[in-house]
C-alpha cells in the first residue's frame, strides 16, 4: 500500500456510481449514435475534476496514490480515512472531524486529512494544496526524481 494517499471526492452533482440493477449499466449509452443527455451532462460535469486529477497525478511521484472516490462509496471512504489518519498518527478527535467532512463537496483528502472542501479549486491550486499537505520529504523525492539525467 502507498505510504501517502490523496483522495479526490467527486462533486455531489457529478457522481460516477449508482445503486440498483440498472444504474451501473448506463455506460451502454455512450457508444452508440446518440448520447443520452443525462449521461452527457454527467460526464461534462466530471471534466473539471478530471483536469484536477490529471494535474495532481502528473505533479506527484508515482508512489503517492491518487484516487477519485464517489462520495457514496462510504464502505471504502470512511475506513480509508481512519486507516490513513492512524498511520500518520493523527488523534482520534481530529480524525472524527475529518470523517464528517470527508464527503464534502469536491473535498480533497491527503493522508486522511481534509485539506479542501466546499468546492473544486483550479487544478494548479489543487496541486499546491496537496503538496503543502504532504510530508515535505514525499514531494522532495519527486522533485529530485525529475532532475535531468535521472
Amino acid at each position: 500500500m502507498a505510504r501517502h494517499r490523496v483522495l479526490l471526492i467527486r462533486p455531489w452533482d457529478a457522481p460516477g456510481a449508482g445503486s440498483g440493477c440498472c444504474t451501473g449499466a448506463a455506460g451502454v449509452c455512450v457508444e452508440g449514435r446518440h448520447e443520452d443527455p443525462a449521461s452527457a451532462r454527467q460526464r461534462a460535469d466530471q471534466r473539471p475534476l478530471g483536469e484536477v486529477y490529471r494535474t495532481v497525478r502528473a505533479g506527484l511521484p508515482a508512489e503517492i496514490a491518487v484516487e477519485i472516490v464517489d462520495p457514496r462509496n462510504t464502505l471504502f471512504l470512511l475506513p480509508a480515512i481512519v486507516r490513513d489518519g492512524r498511520r500518520h498518527r493523527r488523534p482520534w478527535r481530529t480524525l472524527l472531524r475529518d470523517l464528517v467532512r470527508a464527503t464534502g463537496y469536491a473535498a480533497i483528502i491527503v493522508d486522511g486529512r481534509v485539506v479542501s472542501e466546499s468546492g473544486l479549486p483550479p487544478a494548479e491550486q489543487a496541486l499546491r494544496i496537496v503538496r503543502q499537505a504532504l510530508d515535505p520529504s514525499a514531494v522532495l523525492s519527486h522533485r529530485s526524481s525529475r532532475r535531468p539525467g535521472r
Binding site: 445503486s19 440493477c21 449499466a25 455506460g27 449514435r33 443520452d36 484516487e67 477519485i68
Partner: protein, 606 residues
Amino acid sequence: MPAIVVVIAVMAMFALGYRYYSRYLADRVYGLDPTYVTPAHRFADGVDFVPTNKHVLFGHHFTSIAGAAPIVGPAIAVFWGWGPALAWVVFGTIFAAGVHDFGALAVSVRHRARNIGTLAADVISKRARTLFLLIIFFLLTLVNAVFAVVIGNLLVAYPGAVIPIFVEIPLAIAIGQYIYRTRSAALVPSLIGVAALYFLIWVGNLYPVEITGLADALGFERTRDLWVVILFVYAFIASRLPVWLLLQPRDYINSHQLFIAIAVIFAGVLVGMDRIVAPMFNDVPAGSPSIFPFLFITVACGAISGFHSLVASGTTSKQLDKETDARYVGYAGAIGEGSLALGSIIAVTAGVAATRAEWEGLYASYAEASGGATRNFVNGIASFATNLGIEFQLATVFAAVVVISFAATTMDTGVRLQRYIVQEIAELVGWRRLSRHLTLAGLVAVAAPLTLALLPGGGDAGYTFGVLWRLFGTTNQLTAGLALAVIAVWVLRRRRNPVAVIVPLVFLLVMTTWALVVQLREFVVADEWVLAPLDAVIFVLALWLIVEAVLALRRASGQPVEPETDSGPGPDSGGAGAADSESADESQRAVGAESAAGTGATDDRR
C-alpha cells in the same frame, strides 16, 4: 436445520470458489498480466478513464449491480425446495456468474474498455450489435414491467409504506439541493435523510394509505393497476429530470439502506438462530412449472445476470488499475450478488414461517409463490428484525420500503436506458422522427412495459407476474449468453482453453430455449395473445444468438492467434465493427478522446 449453518457453509464455498476457481480463470483462461497497461492508464482523462484502487472500484461496481432482482428470483424459486434454489445460487455464482462478470471485465479491458454491445460487433459479427440492442430492449421492457408490479403489490400489501416512499422523493430533492447549494459534506445530511425516512416509516405505520376506493372509482380491476400507472407516470417524469436532482440523492439514502438491511438479515439470523422450516425438496402440485428448465431462469440475478456484463464492460473496465484486479472486482462482485440471493433464500425459508405447514400454505402453488415472493421476503426480514427487538409490524414496513426503494431506482434508470435503446433501434431502422424525439422515445419506453404490467390474469396472486418474471429471467440469461459468447470467442482466439466459459454458455442457452418453447406452448393453449408473440420473438433472438455464437466459435478456432496486446490508437477509434456513419458520429463526441489523443500509449506494457 439452523439457518446460520447454511450461511456459514455457503460463505465457505464462495471463499473456496474465489480462492481456487477464480485463480484458475485468471491464470489459465483469461491469462491476466499484471504488467498490461489498462485503458484506465492508456487513456487516463479523470472522467471516464481513471486508474482506481481495486477496493474503491469494488465499492462502485457492487453498488451498481446490487438491487432488488437477486431478492425476488430466489424468493420465488424456493417453491421447488430450498436445496435446488440454494444449489443453483451457489454453483451458478461460482461457475457461471463469476466466469461471466470477471470475463466481461477482462475482455473489455483488452478491447479499449468497450461495452459488450460494441464488443459483440467486434468479436462476433456486425449483426450481433443489432441482436444486442434487441435483447436489451426486451430486457428493459420486462425489467420495468416486473418492478412496477413488484412495487404495486407491495404498496397494496403494506399501505404503511406509501407515506415513506412518496415523501422520500421531496426529501431526497431537498437534501440534494441543500448539499448542492451549501457545498456541505454529504454524510451527515444523508444520514439525517435515513433517520427522517425511518421516522416516516413510523408515521406511515400509524397512517396507512389505501387507494382501493379510488381505484374502484376510476374503473381499475385491481388496486395494483392504479399504482402501476402512477409509477410509470412518475418514472416518465423522473427520467426527464437531471440525474443529480432526484436520482443521486435518493441513491445516497439507498446505499445506507442497503448496508443496514444486509446487517439486519445476518445479525437477525445470528441472534435468533432461526431454523429453516421449508423442505429441502418441495413436492410441488401437479401442473406446476418443472424445475428443469424453470429454476434456472427464475433465478437470474443472484446466480448469473447479463446486466452485470453491461456494468463490467464499458463502465468498470475504464477504471481498472491493473488487469489482475479484474479477478477481485469482477469475481468478488458476483459473490456479493450471490450473498444477497442467499439472504433472500434464508428470509423466505427460515424467517417467513414458524412451521413447515405454515410455509406450505405460503407456497401452495407456483402462482402463490411468485405473487407472494416479495411479501414473503418482507415478512422474513421483519421476522429477523424482531430478533433484534424491533416491533414486527414496523419491521415489515421497513423491509417493504427497502425493496420498493431499490425497485424504484431500477425503474428510474431502466426507463432512461430504454429511451436511449429505443432511439438507437429507431436510428437503425431509419425512423428518424422517433430517434430524434426524446419525448416520443420516452413514451415508447414507458408504453411497452406499462402494457405488460397491466395484463390481466390471476389477480394479485399473480399468474401474470410469475410469467413476466420468467420472461425477464430468460432475456437476462440471453444477455449473459451473448456476453459469454463474446468471452468464449476471445479466449479461443488467444488459444486458451474455453471450456470454463463454454459450459455455462451452453447450459444457459439450452435452459432458455427450452423454457421459451414450453412457455410458447402454454401461452398458445391459454390464448395469451400478448405473451405468445413476445415469447416467440425472444425465442427467435435466442436462436439467432445460438447461430451467431456457433459461427463465431467455428471462425475463431480456425483463425491465427490473437495478439496479446490491443494497440488501438484511442478509446473510440478503430471502428470496432460499428457502421462507418456510427464511427463518424462517435468521433464528433467527446468521450474522453481529447485527452486520450495526448496520452495514447503505443506500448501496451509497463
